[in-house]
């Protein structure tokens, strides 16, 4: 009996311990669970990011610190290199909490490179303890291999050429052996003549071999050099492309470290591992959330209105030509395009929340209406009408995050206003209040990923970005400096990408709707029509 009890108790303890471990693991990866960093509610905790490695500039640290700064949820303390080195503990030593507390930091983040990634550690300065420490995957860019490529190509070529030359020499030697043979089995002439002829034949045969090999070498040398140079160039190019892709992926993997660390501090994942698509000079471009890695993803034409597939691997946009505007899907990884519509006017495409359909606006002589087509499948899809505007404009749709509703603009009441309807086109509602007969102009709605707000642009003399809360229908003006247009929500439902002339030329800026902080994202005059990606997990 007693024994049974003790066994049961031991089992219970083991189970409990196991559960506790499991719990601890779960909470670390669940967003929204605070692990207990102590800082005042409603304040932005100040943090310090310690050096990660000793490379000049320490790019990983720079990226993480900037990501955390751009999150607007924590505030990194800028410190010079010597101060940073001074507060970084030697391996195995504890952090000097008192010293760091004097610098005003609530938390410290430290990273160590490991074989497969980065071990990140979060210290709570107030409680003087480690809150979280975990190895996070990070992609490492392989070193430049140009020299070793040259060496190995030349080594391989030399080896192959040597064996070919050997066989050529063998053939020449066989022929030379025939040349050396005396013409008669028994030469009746005096011996000295026989010897002289034999010596002549021998030197002729030797010269034959030498000449043959020299000619072979001369003929062969140029083409061998050309071939191996071509091989070196080809391999070096492939290598540099692989390195470039790895560098892009490395940046993204560091952004993911930032997002994870942010969830340890604030309980919410950051939005650093995202990209923003936009239009400049008629091309669709994509830029990382921190403004780096800006590149064009289309090569020609006047393209407009990019929108992301929920998996982040595809874009849909519209391209204008002299005879009309078509909706086009672009596979970002393969670089493949698929034209989804005929000519005529086909604009403002977006993917449905599940990514299966494309909703866009198609125009004819009686105005524009919203229609839906499947995103995949063969043949030319038949569009299904969701609005019947009867001569008015209906475009710029944006799905609610649950996929059940659509916000869009319509000019059915003469001036463009933001409306909502169910995903099947029923239950039409006017979202933005206005006075009939008074000229208003509201366009470009974007439904926030948390479902609470719709951002849009409105004309008040010039154009400014507003948002309206869906619960109390209270519009709130967000911008005033310069002209601000085309808002697009970040996955956190807090930041907006928009085009603004506040810095002179029209550029994409990021606005934190809670603090009002602006930062410039692009350096391309005329940048517009921003679209913020979902979280990128690859």
């Amino acid at each position: 009996m007693n024994r049974f009890f003790s066994v049961a108790a031991a089992a219970a303890i083991v189970i409990l311990a196991g559960a506790a471990t499991a719990c601890a693991q779960d909470t670390t990866s669940t967003p929204g669970v605070r692990l207990g960093l102590t800082y005042g509610r409603g304040t932005v905790p100040r943090i310090i990011v310690l050096p990660i490695d000793s490379t000049p500039g320490d790019s990983a640290r720079t990226i993480i610190q900037r990501d955390l700064d751009y999150s607007d949820r924590v505030s990194p303390i800028p410190l010079d290199q010597s101060t940073l080195m001074g507060i970084t503990p030697a391996p195995g030593q504890p952090l000097n909490y008192d010293l760091i507390s004097k610098l005003g930091a609530a938390a410290v983040i430290q990273g160590h490179r490991t074989a497969n990634g980065l071990r990140a550690t979060l210290y709570d300065v107030g409680a003087k303890r480690v809150v979280q420490s975990r190895e996070l995957p990070m992609i490492n860019v392989p070193p430049v291999r140009d020299a070793s490529i040259r060496d190995s190509v030349i080594a391989a070529t030399t080896l192959r050429e040597k064996s070919i030359r050997d066989s050529v020499a063998r053939v020449l030697r066989t022929r030379a052996a025939i040349m050396r043979r005396p013409p008669l089995k028994k030469d009746p002439r005096p011996r000295r003549f026989v010897v002289r002829d034999s010596l002549r034949r021998d030197s002729a045969a030797t010269a034959y071999i030498r000449r043959g090999l020299a000619r072979w070498d001369a003929d062969r040398a140029d083409s061998v050099t050309a071939a191996s140079e071509a091989a070196i160039t080809r391999l070096a190019k492939a290598d540099s492309m692989a390195r470039k892709a790895a560098a892009d992926n490395e940046r993204m993997s560091i952004h993911r470290v930032s997002d994870e660390v942010e969830s340890w501090i604030t309980g919410r994942r950051g939005i650093a591992s995202t990209r923003i698509a936009y239009v400049a000079n008629g091309l669709i471009r994509v830029v990382d959330s921190d403004g780096e890695n800006d590149r064009a993803v289309t090569v020609r034409g006047t393209s407009l209105s990019p929108a992301w597939h929920p998996n982040g691997r595809r874009l849909v946009y519209s391209r204008m030509s002299n005879v009309g505007t078509q909706v086009i899907q672009l596979d970002l990884e393969a670089g493949r395009e698929r034209v989804m519509t005929g000519n005529g006017l086909n604009i403002t495409p977006v993917y449905s929340t599940d990514g299966r359909n494309i909703l866009y606006s198609t125009g004819d002589e009686s105005g524009t209406d919203l229609v839906m087509i499947p995103a995949d499948g063969d043949g030319t899809p038949v569009p299904q009408h969701l609005t019947f505007g009867r001569g008015s404009d209906n475009n710029s749709p944006s799905f609610s995050p649950d996929g059940r509703q659509i916000a869009f603009i319509s000019g059915r009441s003469r001036f463009p206003e933001v409306y909502t309807m169910d995903a099947d086109g029923a239950n039409l509602q006017l979202l933005t209040p206005f006075v009939p007969g008074v000229r208003t102009y509201r366009t470009a709605p974007d439904w926030s990923p948390d479902g609470r707000n719709v951002a849009y642009e409105q004309q008040n003399g010039d154009f400014q970005v507003w948002m309206i809360n869906l619960r109390d229908k209270e519009p709130k003006r967000l911008t005033s400096e310069g002209e601000n247009e085309g808002p697009s929500w970040a996955p956190d439902g807090r930041h907006l990408a928009l085009s603004s002339t506040r810095g002179g030329s029209k550029q994409i800026w990021v606005l934190d709707t809670e603090s009002g902080r602006f930062r410039q994202l692009t350096r391309n005059p005329g940048a517009r029509l921003a679209a913020w990606s979902p979280m990128l997990t690859f």
Partner: protein
């Protein structure tokens, strides 16, 4: 004969529409609440009255255009005709309705098209740089469609006219001044074939 019948039909249809609207107006109480439905009803009524009036005016203009055109000819266009046909028309801010000036310009184009039955044209609608780039595409299309509709009302066969919109993507004049905006809110006319 054919033309007269067509004109007469337009007049009769427009009268019916007009009278029909009038009757509805008496029956419906004034909307007390502003919502999507009441706004749409209000707008639909205003639109149908405007359409009826426009149709009446167009019928008269069509008769004039037909009279001005004279008999169809295979001769090439004169430079005067070419200029009249190619003349750009301009619009008010965020409007697709033709101004009086634009109407006069379009009325000068109709006889050219009627006289040269092989001519096919493309009407390109444009908008100024103000406002949403996407909405401006739709606005450009409405401007082109409105122009095409008016030419059709003046007797030009619809199959001879294509419409296209460039939104604010191809401004005639660069710059962010009111003057530039006014010159960019326009429809351009391009001969596709037969000219």
């Amino acid at each position: 004969m054919n033309k007269i019948t067509r004109v007469a039909t337009v007049v009769v249809v427009s009268l019916i529409t007009f009278v029909g609207c009038h009757r509805k107006k008496e029956q419906r109480p004034a909307p007390s609440r502003i919502n999507a439905d009441s706004l749409l009803r209000e707008q639909a009524r205003a639109d149908s009255i405007a359409r009826a009036e426009a149709a009446r005016a167009a019928a008269a203009a069509a008769a004039t255009a037909a009279a001005n055109a004279g008999p169809p000819t295979a001769a090439p266009m004169s430079s005067v005709e070419r200029t009249a046909l190619a003349a750009t028309i301009y619009f008010d801010l965020d409007e697709s309705a033709l101004t009086d000036e634009a109407r006069t310009s379009v009325e000068a184009k109709a006889p050219v098209l009627l006289r040269h039955p092989n001519l096919r044209i493309r009407i390109a609608g444009h908008a100024d740089a103000q406002g949403s780039d996407e909405y401006n595409l739709a606005l450009g299309l409405r401007r082109a469609a409105e122009t095409k509709r008016y030419l059709a009302a003046l007797g030009v066969d619809e199959s001879r006219m294509e419409i296209v919109t460039f939104g604010e993507e191809k401004p005639a004049v660069q710059g962010n001044t009111q003057e530039a905006y006014a010159l960019n809110r326009r429809c351009e006319f391009e001969i596709i074939s037969g000219g």
